[in-house]
């Protein structure tokens, strides 16, 4: 595959990306997707939130899971970072604590795929302000 270096190259790749989008679900209807929010405040980032976010991105891409990964601010659970909130369509959000790359994969395999809960769930009534 040719390398993308300019906006013109990107324009040319667009069609290919669009074809992929038709196969995948479109992310502009987030309510129909699994929403994964990684807490990315100082506490989260210093504890490894970026690696966790990249791990979710890689895992859902590899396994073609209809999900969108976003960030949120500090949930107030600094002691338990990295924290991740997962909201499956039509279900209440679940906040997972002490997430690392291995646990991110476990969340996808167990909770997102099979509704199986994992250790270390935190209350989801946090405020991010």
């Amino acid at each position: 595959m040719t390398k993308i270096k300019s906006l013109d190259d990107l324009r040319q790749r667009k069609q290919q990306l669009e074809q992929g989008m038709e196969i995948r679900e479109k992310s502009d209807h987030p309510e129909s997707l699994v929403q994964i929010k990684v807490a990315m405040a100082t506490c989260g980032i210093a504890s490894g939130a970026r690696a966790v976010m990249n791990a979710f991105v890689e895992k859902i891409k590899k396994e073609k899971i209809p999900a969108v990964v976003t960030q949120t601010g500090c949930m107030g659970y600094c002691y338990a970072e990295p924290t991740v909130e997962v909201k499956k369509p039509g279900m209440d959000p679940v906040v997972f604590s002490y997430v690392d790359v291995a646990k991110a994969e476990e969340i996808v395999d167990k909770y997102i795929r099979n509704n199986e809960l994992l250790d270390g769930i935190l209350p989801a009534n946090y405020q991010t302000i």
Partner: protein, 184 residues
């Protein structure tokens, strides 16, 4: 924080928390002048002069979830331990500019880290915010903005995983070209 890209991710959270709709990130590596600079400029609600005086106090924060605010103090500490400095200027209602400078060859300067990945994570996680990202190496620069990307990609969302991957690849190609051209 293991690298400066993590500080960048952290500082941008402040801009997002301030309700910015546009955030300009600049990273400049300048080994010739022994200087590395990171700046973040936003159009958020800004910081009052009173708050600005306390911005490097780790026990000051405008948030209510906890009583510490470590992002800016940690970055200042990292900059100063690397023979550099940190400056923040702000105007309430207009926005904030934060600039961190580091002595490039200082032993205590953390590695820059993967700034392209950090930029793409920020862009994809906040599709409603416009970003501009500029990377320079010894004065030669590469710049891209989400406005340009949205114009090219049209309906394709920036948080689509394959779109993210493509944008990251494009930024990394250009960044590495800037370095390779000068090393040759």
């Amino acid at each position: 924080m293991n690298d400066l890209a993590l500080h960048l991710l952290d500082i941008v959270q402040n801009s997002l928390g301030a309700g910015a709709s546009f955030i300009a990130i600049e990273v400049s590596e300048n080994p010739d002048e022994n200087l590395l600079t990171i700046s973040v400029k936003d159009n958020g609600r800004g910081i009052s002069p009173e708050q600005l005086q306390k911005i490097s106090d780790p026990f000051f924060t405008s948030r209510t979830t906890r009583r510490v605010g470590l992002g800016v103090p940690l970055l200042r500490h990292t900059a100063e331990q690397s023979g550099g400095s940190l400056e923040v200027s702000s105007e309430p209602g207009k926005g904030t500019l934060l600039t961190a400078r580091f002595q490039y060859d200082h032993l205590d300067r953390p590695p820059l880290g993967d700034v392209a990945n950090a930029a793409v994570l920020m862009i994809s996680a906040n599709p409603e915010v416009d970003f501009s990202y500029k990377y320079s190496y010894n004065g030669r620069s590469y710049q891209v903005s989400t406005q340009e990307l949205k114009e090219v990609l049209g309906d394709l969302p920036l948080n689509d995983l394959y779109v993210m991957e493509t944008i990251e690849e494009m930024i990394k190609e250009n960044q590495s070209d800037l370095k390779v051209c000068q090393i040759e």
